[in-house]
């Protein structure tokens, strides 16, 4: 069974929910953060008004979440169940609930300046859907006894539950609100239902009677789709059922129906047209009775009956709408002409609803622009697709052209992508490690930082820039020469250390080089350096590593050992701003090289002064790994290291020249 089903808005308010067994709210919070905000799933996560089956299910440790999103209204539908259970009908449930909910309460969600959505009456719709879909699967497994069992469990829970429902606090108001969008046919049915005291026994009755009715209506629906005359048969179907039930004939049929179902279905429909007039008379009589005897028990049945029909009607009409919109996109020569002119007008004045055609050409231009800025094609395509989905069906503002709208969306999208999830205050992190607070029960130890990257991107240079920055903040720094491979690498670092000593000696900086010559195992050298630093009381250890080609498995495999031995607090990768499409592969391979538990912690983008506005590489790197950019190298001096500013990068990327 489901653990929980929630309908929530993008602003975080739960509009409606049903909990069968309590789940930790952090499951859904994590789901939102991972799927929508951080977009960890990549492409698939950029959501669309698609069916739940197309959206990747989100898996937490014990639960699986099936979800779908209505972008225009900003509503998310989430079903949570135990991963152990394979509930095949959850997709369908989420989709159906989405359709019904949007149909009934869609307008309410569009109201500005309020978070209230009065949907107290939605409980019944939900119950009906759960039962129906649950039943289909139960029958599919050919266990006739399973269905009633489920019915017994459902109502007991319902009986306890309504008091906790957020919508029900406003029961009185919810009634008024819910009747408006619902069809008039339903109005008399829900009114008594809503005002009833929510006693379990009553509910039990409601649900227990549902079994046969549910089946019948499904058959009716089947016939409806076969006959493909939805309006007329839709009207007939409910009246037919009412007729059946008063005569008590329908019941018997159902009892037989279990034995030989297909034949019964056949019989069922062959009988219908013949007794058409008779049924009509009956149902008319019944409606009189129905309205007179609202207080009776039979009422319960009919409420459900109407509800089911209404639900099916909604689902059918939505499905129909979908097919019709697909089949007739254009309407004659005159129509297209007028559309084209009004489209041009709207493009200048604004207030145009964006369609795929409008966006296509403009998005091509944007993609081109990004490619010119040295963004890798993969990243550019992802950004553009995300924006296209976001803007599809959106109305432009007054005097706002499509391009301006896209520009704004791209700015927002880039900012979101490049902004790190948590703050990146390096000095604070170092302080937390080297001088831990008394309550944290950690021992003080040196902060270990290592730098990796492809050959010649500037690892040693950036390492010494960081060292200079740390020395200015009065840290004792040990530089470990982890490049035991390239000739001259150790000497290069020695020169840097000498320079840094001279530069910062007066200000009280203290820096040493730890080196073991060439040919040694880099991981062991790094490990020794860390132990040495701990003994000598250094605050920070900076470990240089040998440059390596990211697609050389032999060289990359040693990084995992390195990460295990040196246990760096931060692993930074230096990426050149000059590199093009290869940056994506570089970032991915380095990110994966440290084993399953360790990834990169940040990027340093070097040589930014050589590319001007074409800083697309940093977008490619972040796109590939979701790892933030920490520093930007902007010159040749020790002081030419900068904190990465998102605003600066976005401005450069969108500037047009």
């Amino acid at each position: 069974m489901l653990d929980s089903f929630e309908i929530l808005t993008t602003s975080g308010v739960v509009v409606w929910s049903r909990t069968y067994s309590a789940i930790n709210p952090s499951i859904i919070n994590n789901f939102i953060a991972d799927t929508f905000i951080e977009e960890k799933g990549g492409f698939a996560a950029v959501a669309d008004s698609k069916s739940a089956a197309n959206n990747l299910p989100y898996k937490s440790d014990q639960h699986t979440l099936k979800w779908t999103l209505v972008k225009e209204l900003g509503v998310i539908f989430v079903a949570v169940y135990r991963s152990l259970l394979h509930l095949s009908w959850v997709d369908k449930l989420v989709d159906n609930i989405k359709t019904i909910f949007v149909k009934l309460y869609g307008e309410q969600l569009l109201k500005p300046h309020t978070t209230l959505v009065e949907c107290g009456a939605f409980d019944e719709y939900f119950d009906q859907q759960v039962q129906e879909l649950d039943q289909t699967t139960a029958k599919g497994a050919s266990s006739a006894s399973a269905a009633p069992l489920e019915h017994n469990t459902v109502p007991t829970i319902i009986g306890d539950d309504p008091l906790d429902q957020p919508g029900l606090t406003y029961r009185g108001r919810a009634l008024n609100g819910s009747n408006e969008p619902a069809s008039p046919e339903l109005a008399p049915a829900t009114t008594p239902n809503g005002s009833r005291p929510a006693t379990p026994s009553n509910n039990h009755l409601l649900v227990a009677k549902a079994g046969p009715v549910a089946k019948m209506s499904r058959r009716a629906r089947k016939s409806k789709s076969v006959a493909s005359a939805p309006v007329s048969s839709g009207d007939e179907a409910p009246s037919l059922k009412k007729g059946k039930k008063t005569a008590k004939k329908g019941r018997k049929w159902d009892a037989d129906g279990y034995a030989d179902e297909d034949d019964d279905v056949q019989l069922d429909y062959s009988a219908n047209p013949n007794s058409d007039s008779e049924v009509e008379v009956r149902s008319a009589a019944l409606e009189e009775v129905d309205s007179d005897t609202w207080g009776t028990r039979s009422k319960g049945k009919f409420v459900l009956n109407d509800l089911k029909d209404e639900v099916h009607e909604i689902l059918a009409s939505e499905a129909e709408k979908k097919t019709t919109t697909k089949s007739q996109p254009k309407s004659g020569l005159f129509g297209t002409g007028v559309n084209a002119i009004s489209g041009l007008f709207h493009n200048i004045v604004g207030g145009k609803t964006l369609t795929k055609e409008d966006l296509d050409s403009a998005m091509k231009g944007m993609e081109e622009h990004l490619l010119k800025k040295n963004v890798a094609r993969e990243a550019a395509v992802r950004l553009c697709e995300g924006i296209e989905k976001e803007l599809l069906g959106v109305k432009t503002g007054n005097f706002e052209s499509i391009n301006a709208r896209i520009q704004a969306a791209m700015e927002a999208s880039l900012t979101k992508m490049l902004t790190p999830t948590s703050s990146l205050d390096l000095l604070r992190e170092i302080d937390a490690i080297t001088a831990p607070s008394v309550t944290s029960l950690r021992k003080a130890r040196p902060y270990v930082m290592s730098i990796v990257g492809v050959n010649g991107v500037g690892k040693s240079t950036n390492l010494s820039k960081i060292c200079f920055f740390l020395l200015q903040n009065k840290y004792k720094v040990l530089i470990a020469a982890g490049d035991t491979f390239r000739s001259g690498a150790v000497e290069q670092l020695a020169v840097h250390v000498r320079n840094l000593k001279e530069l910062t000696a007066r200000e009280g900086g203290h820096v040493e080089l730890y080196q073991k010559g060439y040919g040694k195992d880099a991981a062991t050298v790094a490990k020794d350096a860390v132990t040495h630093a701990a003994q000598e009381g250094f605050d920070v250890v900076l470990i240089d590593t040998a440059g390596r080609r990211h697609n050389d498995q032999r060289l990359m495999s040693s990084l995992e050992k390195f990460a295990k031995f040196a246990q760096p607090d931060k692993i930074l990768m230096v990426g050149e701003a000059l590199v093009g499409t290869d940056s994506v592969a570089q970032a991915r391979n380095f990110n994966a090289a440290f084993g399953a538990v360790r990834t990169l912690d940040g990027f340093i983008i070097s040589k930014c002064d050589t590319v001007g506005d074409m800083v697309g590489t940093l977008v490619s790197l972040v796109h590939a790994t979701n790892v933030p950019v920490l520093f930007v190298g902007v010159g040749q001096h020790y002081s030419d290291l900068r904190n990465f500013s998102v605003k600066w990068a976005v401005e450069k990327l969108l500037s047009s020249n």
Binding site: T10, N29, T115, L116
Partner: protein, 274 residues
């Protein structure tokens, strides 16, 4: 077919007058006044959306999850009615009421820039409520990002107060110490001193830190880059230092759910500011 002067004149008047007329019509269609706005900011999981729904609905049993977009609600506050100190006064008839917008913003790190943009662009911004989770503020992992966010907000407000010439440019800030009903919650004085200590540290490390990549070589050392929160050169930051810029910062304890001081104090603070 000689062009007559009146025709030309009328033609020119029509051609030039049309856009102006259009503009007047379009702009007059937006005559409604913008209500004063109170912005609700703070880190994720501090209870912003919960507070918003509490104020709107009067009951705190609405579940909320991580927000992705900001959401505004319209509320009425009064300073002279009998039930002025309670937020459950939607239906009260006595006293005068001011309508205001209460805007909730997402607190997730990646979406923080949208909150800052709101702070920047909202017209008639009357007050900012910065929500913190007092129960979690004892842990350095929570305190550090909270203070970093607060630092950004305070710095923005301070800059706005110093640069803009308008009166009432200074926005009062309330630090709402939420979750006072929990056992681990710090008292508001401790919340205040913890935040001040952390802000002092951030201020010091920012002054020693690296420049932003957006800073050009000619701008180094210029006035604009000089962003020092509070009294310049002071060793310790306190919220009272911001009084110098007419920015009033207050720490008010409360809670959205459970037993405790409740949210009435916050409501009263907001009601007084609008």
């Amino acid at each position: 077919m000689t062009p007559s002067v009146p025709t030309i004149v009328i033609g020119i008047i029509i051609i030039l007058g049309m856009p102006i007329l259009l503009h007047i019509i379009l702009s007059s269609s937006r005559t409604y006044t913008i209500p004063p706005t109170v912005l609700l900011v703070g880190p994720s999981n501090s209870g912003k959306t919960s507070l918003q729904t509490l104020f709107e609905r009067g009951s705190s049993d609405t579940e909320t999850h991580t927000s992705q977009v900001s959401q505004s609600v319209e509320l009425n506050a009064s300073t002279d009615s009998a039930t002025k100190k309670s937020f459950r006064n939607h239906d009260a008839t006595d006293g005068t009421y001011t309508k205001f917008l209460f805007v909730d913003t997402p607190g997730h790190g990646k979406l923080r820039n949208s909150a800052m943009a709101k702070l920047n662009s909202t017209e008639k911004l009357q007050a900012v409520v910065f929500m913190v989770d007092a129960a979690a503020l004892g842990e350095p992992e929570i305190l550090a990002p909270t203070a970093a966010y607060l630092y950004d907000v305070l710095l923005f407000v301070q800059k706005r107060a110093t640069t803009s010439a308008k009166t009432k440019a200074a926005i009062p800030i309330m630090i709402a110490a939420n979750k006072m009903d929990l056992f681990t919650a710090l008292p508001s004085t401790l919340v205040k001193s913890n935040l001040e200590a952390e802000l002092t540290r951030i201020r010091a490390s920012k002054s020693k830190g690296l420049l932003d990549s957006g800073v050009g070589t000619d701008e180094i050392g210029s006035e604009e880059q000089d962003s020092w929160l509070g009294e310049y050169g002071s060793a310790k930051f306190t919220f009272s230092q911001l009084r110098e810029f007419d920015v009033e910062v207050e720490v008010v304890p409360g809670n959205v759910t459970g037993d405790g001081p409740g949210a009435e104090k916050w409501w009263w603070w907001i009601a007084q500011r609008i």
